[in-house]
C-alpha cells in the first residue's frame, strides 16, 4: 500500500469507474423519484411543505439527511483523524443543539407557521419589515452554507476520482448545481424529502459498515483503538485529550506560554461551542422540515427520531476518525488533503483491502465516495429549497405583494428563485474555489444563532416583543456576526505556517492585516448582541398587537387553526 493512497496517478481506473457508476445510479434513482414527486405536487403546500403528509419517522430520517452534511461526515472524521479528541467537541455541539430545536422550537413552529421561518417571525408583527428581514437572513445563511458545500464538492471530486484539472472541478460544481436546481424546481419539498431519506439511509449504512469493520479489527477494544491512533499521530501525548486544535496552549518563540493568545484560543472554543449549540434551531433549511408533517406531535416525534439517527451517526464518526488515524495514519491523510477531508474515504480503502484484498478496497472506497457525493447533493438541495421558498413566500408574496400575490404566481416565483439562487451559487462557487471557505459553515451557524434564534425565541415566548424588536434582532445579529468575522483572523492577518509563505486567512497576502477581533468564531459576542438588539428594539417602540400575540400563543401551544395536511 502506498502512503499516498489516492494521488491522481494512483486512483485505479476500476475504482474511478465504480464510483462513477454507483453515483450515477444514485442520481438516476433520485431523478426518477423527483419526477414521480412532481406529479403529486399541485398546491403551494405540496411544493413548500410536501403536502404536510410525511410521517414523524420519515421526517426524522429526512432531518438526519438535511443535517448530516459533508462537513460532519468528512470534516469531523478528518478533524478526529488529525487532531484526535477535539473533533468530538464538534459532534457534541451539533447533537446537543437538537434539544433546543426539540424543546423550544419545533412544535410551536409547526402549529403557527405555514411555509417559512418568516411566517412565525412575522405572525404578530407588521408584515413587510419583518418579512424582508427574515428573507434576508434566510438567504444569507443558506448561501453561506451552500457555497461551502459546493466548493467542497469540487475539491472532493478531484480527490476521489483522481482528476485535478480546473475544468473537472468546474464541471462538478456545475453538475451539482444543475441537479439541485432540478430536484427543487421539479420535486419541491416532496422530492427533496425523499432524497434526504435515501441519502440518510445510504450514509448510515456506509458509516455502520465502516464502524463495524474498524471495531472488529480492534476486537471491540476501544482503548486499543485509541492507543493505536495516538501512537501513529504527530502528538501521541496530547492526541487523546482536548486542546490540539481548539483552545490551544500557545507558546511564543522562546517557548513561554503566551497567556493572551492562549486565552483568546480558549474563548474561541467557547464561542464555537455556543454557535454550534444555538445555531441549529435557527437554520432555515432545518426549520422548514417541521412543516412537512401533519401535526405538532408528529413534528416532536420526527425530531426525536432525528436525534437518535444523528446521535448514532456522530458516535460512529469517533470510530471513523480514530480508525483513520490508526489504520491510514496522519501522514497519508495530510498528503492527500491537509484539512483531512479524505480521511474517511481513505479509511474505507485501507480497511477494505485489509479484509477483502485490493478489490475489496476498491469497492469500499467507491461506495464511500459515492455516499459522500450523495450527502453533498442532498444538503445543497435542502438549502436551495429553503432560500427559494423564502424569496417567493416572504419577499415576493408578503413583502412585494403584501400577502395578495396573484393566484398561482407564488410557486412559479419559488421555482424561478431556485434557478437564480442555484445559478448564483454555481458562479460564486467557481470563483471561490481557490479560497479557504470552510469557515462559511461555522459562520452560517453563528448568523443563525445570533440573528434567527433570538427573533424566534422572543416571538414565541415574550409577549411584549414587537416589529421593531424583530427587525433589530435579525439585522443586529446578522451584522454583528458577519462584521466580526470580516475583522477577525479568518479574513486577514493569520501568520503563515512555514513552509508556506501565504496566510491561511481568506486574504492570503500576509502583509494585509485589518483584523482587530481576536476570535475566529463571532458567536460569543454576536449571540448576546442579537438578543440585546432584540430587547432594545422592542423597548424603543410602543407598538404591540395584543390580539395577534394572543392568537400566536394560543395557536402555537394548542394547534388551533394550524395548517392542515393536504389530502390527495
Amino acid at each position: 500500500m502506498s502512503a499516498n493512497v489516492f494521488a491522481a496517478t494512483d486512483v485505479s481506473g476500476g475504482q474511478q469507474a465504480l464510483t462513477t457508476i454507483l453515483f450515477l445510479s444514485f442520481v438516476a434513482i433520485t431523478l426518477f423519484i423527483t419526477l414521480r414527486a412532481s406529479r403529486a405536487t399541485r398546491t403551494a403546500a405540496d411544493f413548500y411543505a410536501g403536502g404536510r403528509s410525511f410521517s414523524g419517522l420519515q421526517n426524522g430520517v429526512a432531518i438526519g439527511g438535511d443535517y448530516m452534511s459533508a462537513a460532519s461526515f468528512l470534516g469531523i472524521a478528518g478533524i478526529i483523524a488529525l487532531y484526535g479528541y477535539d473533533g468530538f467537541l464538534y459532534s457534541i455541539g451539533f447533537l446537543v443543539a437538537w434539544l433546543v430545536a426539540l424543546l423550544l422550537v419545533a412544535e410551536l413552529m409547526r402549529n403557527s407557521g405555514k411555509y417559512t421561518m418568516g411566517d412565525v417571525l412575522a405572525f404578530r408583527m407588521r408584515q413587510r419589515p419583518v418579512r424582508a428581514a427574515a428573507g434576508v437572513s434566510t438567504i444569507v445563511v443558506s448561501i453561506f452554507y451552500l457555497l461551502a458545500q459546493m466548493v467542497g464538492a469540487g475539491a472532493l471530486v478531484s480527490l476521489l476520482l483522481g482528476v485535478s484539472s480546473d475544468t473537472a472541478k468546474n464541471l462538478t460544481i456545475v453538475s451539482v448545481g444543475a441537479l439541485m436546481i432540478f430536484y427543487v424546481t421539479v420535486g419541491g419539498m416532496k422530492g427533496t424529502t425523499y432524497i434526504q431519506i435515501i441519502k440518510a439511509l445510504l450514509l448510515m449504512t456506509g458509516a455502520t459498515v465502516l464502524t463495524l469493520m474498524v471495531m472488529f479489527k480492534f476486537g471491540w477494544n476501544v482503548s486499543d483503538l485509541l492507543g493505536t491512533a495516538a501512537e501513529k499521530s504527530t502528538d501521541p501525548e496530547g492526541f487523546l485529550e482536548p486542546g490540539l486544535r481548539y483552545g490551544k496552549d500557545i507558546t511564543d518563540a522562546a517557548g513561554n506560554l503566551d497567556e493572551k493568545a492562549t486565552l483568546y484560543s480558549k474563548l474561541d472554543l467557547v464561542s464555537l461551542g455556543l454557535a454550534l449549540v444555538l445555531g441549529t434551531a435557527g437554520l432555515p433549511h432545518i426549520l422548514i422540515r417541521f412543516y412537512t408533517v401533519p401535526t405538532a406531535r408528529a413534528a416532536r416525534k420526527s425530531v426525536v427520531w432525528g436525534i437518535w439517527i444523528i446521535g448514532s451517526f456522530y458516535l460512529m464518526t469517533l470510530a471513523l476518525g480514530f480508525g483513520a488515524a490508526a489504520l491510514v495514519g496522519p501522514k497519508a491523510i495530510i498528503d492527500q488533503d491537509p484539512a483531512g477531508n479524505t480521511a474517511a474515504p481513505q479509511l474505507a480503502r485501507v480497511i477494505g483491502e485489509d479484509y477483502f484484498g485490493t478489490t475489496g478496497g476498491t469497492i469500499m472506497l467507491a461506495f464511500i465516495a459515492s455516499v459522500a457525493f450523495a450527502t453533498i447533493l442532498a444538503v445543497v438541495a435542502g438549502l436551495t429549497l429553503a432560500s427559494s421558498s423564502s424569496v417567493a413566500h416572504d419577499i415576493y408574496a408578503n413583502y412585494v405583494h403584501r400577502g395578495e400575490a396573484p393566484e398561482g404566481t407564488e410557486v412559479k416565483v419559488a421555482r424561478i428563485a431556485a434557478f437564480v439562487i442555484g445559478g448564483v451559487a454555481i458562479v460564486l462557487s467557481i470563483y471561490a474555489q481557490k479560497l479557504n471557505v470552510a469557515f462559511l459553515v461555522a459562520l452560517a451557524f453563528a448568523v443563525a444563532a445570533s440573528a434567527n434564534l433570538p427573533a424566534i425565541l422572543y416571538s414565541l415566548f415574550w409577549k411584549r416583543f414587537n416589529t421593531s424588536g424583530a427587525v433589530w434582532a435579525i439585522y443586529g445579529g446578522l451584522i454583528s456576526a458577519v462584521g466580526l468575522v470580516i475583522f477577525s483572523p479568518v479574513v486577514s492577518g493569520k501568520p503563515p505556517v512555514p513552509p508556506s509563505t501565504e496566510s491561511p486567512s481568506l486574504v492570503t497576502d500576509p502583509s494585509i492585516d485589518f483584523s482587530w477581533f481576536p476570535l475566529d468564531n463571532p458567536g460569543l459576542v454576536s449571540i448576546p448582541l442579537g438578543f440585546f438588539f432584540g430587547w432594545l428594539g422592542t423597548v424603543l417602540s410602543k407598538e404591540h398587537n395584543e390580539y395577534k400575540a394572543a392568537e400566536l400563543e394560543v395557536r402555537s401551544l394548542t394547534g388551533v387553526g394550524m395548517e392542515k395536511a393536504s389530502v390527495h
Partner: protein, 110 residues
C-alpha cells in the same frame, strides 16, 4: 375554520383563562428548566475542555480518559432528555392542548 382566526377576543379570553395557564405551565414547567439544565451541562463540558485539561485527561480505563466519558455522557443526556420530553408532552401536555382546541373549535362551529 377561518372565523376562529378572526375571533380575536375569544383568543385573548382563552389566553387569560386558568385552563390555558395550566397548559402553558405544563409545557414551560418542563421545557424551560430542562433547557437550563442541558445548556449548563453542555457549557460545563466545553469549559472543562478549555480550562480543566488535567481533570479531563485523567485516565479511567486504559486509554479512555475523563474527556471521553464526559463527552459520551453528553450523548446519553441528550437521548435521555429527548425521551423524557416526548413522554412528558405525550402524557401531560397533549391532553390539555386537545381539550382547549376542541373547546375553541366547538365554539367556532356553533
Amino acid at each position: 375554520m377561518s372565523n376562529i382566526q378572526q375571533d380575536s377576543d375569544r383568543l385573548v379570553a382563552m389566553q387569560n383563562s386558568p385552563e390555558f395557564a395550566r397548559l402553558r405551565k405544563a409545557y414551560r414547567g418542563f421545557a424551560f428548566p430542562m433547557t437550563a439544565v442541558f445548556l449548563s451541562w453542555y457549557l460545563l463540558y466545553v469549559l472543562a475542555s478549555g480550562w480543566a485539561r488535567d481533570f479531563m485527561s485523567t485516565e479511567l480505563w486504559g486509554n479512555i480518559n475523563v474527556a471521553y466519558v464526559f463527552g459520551l455522557l453528553q450523548f446519553v443526556s441528550t437521548f435521555l432528555i429527548a425521551w423524557l420530553y416526548e413522554r412528558h408532552m405525550d402524557n401531560k401536555v397533549d391532553p390539555l392542548a386537545a381539550d382547549i382546541r376542541a373547546e375553541l373549535e366547538g365554539e367556532a362551529a356553533r
